[in-house]
């Protein structure tokens, strides 16, 4: 469980940013969401502190495309910062419903989509092998050891 962004990301790196906005200018999420972008997120971290950022629901608009990292002239690893922000946000309960649903599904079934009768029928029609039976005890054991129980209920 991390308590601060700066445990996993070097705060000094953020001071390299001179707000050129190349990142936000390239960001697909910034095109469809107001006042949002990597530049703004970075600035908020520095000016408003991490609590303001990790409690903001808009951070989840990121598509994880990595173009910001590609374009940053100061080579700041923006996705690494964002991943830390997302992880901390999740701990604070700032987690979109759809992500939580998928998480629960992966924890229970080992897969991120539901395998219903239609899926089984479609696979059979194509003469595809059946979906492999997963060792769910093994998977659950790993999830418990790595601490996913901090975020979702693993009972």
């Amino acid at each position: 469980m991390i308590k601060s962004l700066w445990e996993v990301f070097n705060k000094e790196d953020l001071l390299e940013c001179y707000q050129c906005a190349r990142c936000t200018g390239s960001c697909p999420a910034a095109q469809v969401m107001n006042s949002y972008g990597p530049r703004e997120t970075l600035l908020r971290c520095l000016n408003l502190g991490q609590e303001a950022v990790v409690t903001d629901e808009r951070i989840w608009y990121c598509t994880t495309c990595h173009v910001c990292e590609d374009r940053c002239p100061q080579e700041i690893n923006i996705p690494e910062l964002l991943t830390a922000i997302f992880n901390l946000a999740a701990q604070r309960g700032n987690l979109p419903e759809k992500i939580k649903f998928t998480l629960d599904l992966v924890a229970k079934t080992g897969r991120s989509l539901i395998i219903n009768d239609k899926v089984l029928k479609d696979r059979q029609k194509l003469s595809l092998p059946p979906m492999a039976a997963l060792n769910l005890d093994e998977i659950e054991g790993i999830l418990k050891k790595t601490g996913l129980g901090e975020i979702i209920d693993l009972s």
Binding site: T64, V106, R111, L134, I142
Partner: protein, 304 residues
Amino acid sequence: MKYAFFLGCVIPIKYPGFEKATREIMKALGVELMDLPFSCCPAPTNLKLVHYDTWLALAARNLCLAEEAGLSILAMCNGCINTLKEANLILKTDGRRRQQVNQALEGSGHTFKGEIEVKHLLDVLYQEIGLEKIAEMVKYPLQEIRMGCHYGCHLYRPPRIMYPEDLSEAASYVPVSMDHILAILGAKPIEYSRKFLCCGSALGTNIDPQAANEITREKLQHMKKRNIEAVAVACPSCFSQFDRGQMMLERKHHDGFHLPTLYISQLLGLAFGLDQKNLGLEDHRISLGPFLEMIPDSRRQGPA
């Protein structure tokens, strides 16, 4: 040539036709695929963003399964490739992380050793099988159909992690593999503005499908400007944006793009003249009719 076949979740569950098409083209190309009890990769757009340590450990478990079978992994989805390649690289190079993960795997009987590689279908086709072999198999060339390649993002960004052997110092990278393969299949790959813009899939899956579709819409508009007739993708999530996403966009904006999208294995299957009932052609929301009409010879292979 033999690989551990990583199905992921979206293709076997949502688009099993793509899995079938991949199995068929690999059979035709003489590549053996082995099935193993892999779990969700886990997704770089989901679990990684929530709990990094769990993401790394589950990815490691998948890598261990392949290591124990002595095979490198072939994956069909950009998301899977992003997770598995990154996890593989981190665990191979960061001793502390490797120790941490192997501790988490202790009860399961797996130990990560760093013995295998991970490759996307596109790279296996382009680098391992090669264009010459693919060219030999083409029976029904794709009639110079104007195609726009959409590589997606997770396939090759960041290049220093996705292609560490060649691109560890690269600031940026422009992929060409799919364009070259399409040219060999007889299609006409066309450049278009914002070719390397994200499809927006993760945004749609996580919070806001309408916003995600607006991102895809921009790409479709640019493709239309260049008179592109069909889209080629290498990822099922990108496919969903261009196919189901386009259907939802049509209801809202009535753009009339009529741009069918095809997954790479489907395109090879069509050009190779494989039985079309094995290519997942029914899974498309944007009609493939006009596209298939452009490849007259392929109709002879159609379902009864």
